[in-house]
Amino acid sequence: MEIDFASIVAKNQSMVFSLALRFLRNREIAEELAQDVFLQCYRQIDKIEDAGHACSWLRRAICHRSIDELRKRRFRPAIGLDDIPEPAAVGGMPDLMMRDRLRGLVSDLPEKARMVVVLRYQEDLSPTEIGEMLEMPVSTVKSHLHRSLALLRGRLEKRGRARVANGGDIPATEVCL
């Protein structure tokens, strides 16, 4: 069966790029890493059986590469899941900045929890599939999901002043014409 590499790239580029982007929250690095992963796939194309296999291969590769990249670049350490506040109901309608804010909060999660959340909600993978991909017991995946949701919910509910110091959630901005 003929493997069309160009077609593999076309079909999977959004998935690969997005996974890296949601995890690393840096477009340039995400793009660079996504390219590397495709090249890695190209070099091992003889091991790729079909389009479906290519997709799962790429997904696994970008996940592991993203985690490695994070460790290598020593990004800002994430908060610990042990500091989860009491869960509270999420009220209010989702809106534009809510999505931006959520993406930011997801990128603050510890790396494994972050990857679990991204795989679950971007890729719609089941906990079993996530466990296989990240080589993690299913119970651990479920625990990451549960605690991450609780943490995200708690953080969204957290009240405070809109004006925060530099380096906080919302940096002081000065935009003048």
Partner: protein, 119 residues
């Protein structure tokens, strides 16, 4: 409420397309590497004319893509700059609107607590 947060998470984490020239760059880099004969497993591949072989096609596609890349990269950079400016401006606008709304709400609550309103 969990369902609501999960829905919002799905929306927030929806896949985002890479830059327009992403595929071209990948193909260009792949084409620059040694051709992979195993790209195609169709029998009799070696009997094909050079331009019929997948490796040749890939190299040609990569060369053409590389030629197209340069202006595309420049345009993409400019587009990214503009996009970044727009996103920052949007963030600032939402911040300002939220503060305005909250200030008006607080003023309303304060008025309720007191009895004097100047008209």
């Amino acid at each position: 409420m969990n369902e609501n947060l999960e829905d919002v998470l799905r929306e927030s984490l929806r896949r985002e397309a890479p830059p327009a020239d992403f595929a071209a760059k990948v193909l260009a880099k792949a084409g620059a590497e040694a051709p992979r004969a195993t790209l195609s497993v169709v029998a009799g591949n070696s009997a094909k004319k050079p331009w019929q072989r997948r490796s040749f096609t890939l190299a040609l596609a990569a060369t053409l893509a590389a030629v197209a890349i340069v202006p595309a990269v420049v345009l993409d950079y400019q587009h990214k700059q503009e996009e970044a400016r727009g996103l920052k401006a949007k963030q600032d606008l939402l911040t300002a609107l939220a503060i305005t709304r909250d200030q008006l709400q607080q003023a309303r609550e304060k008025v309720r607590r007191t009895t004097r309103i100047i008209q």
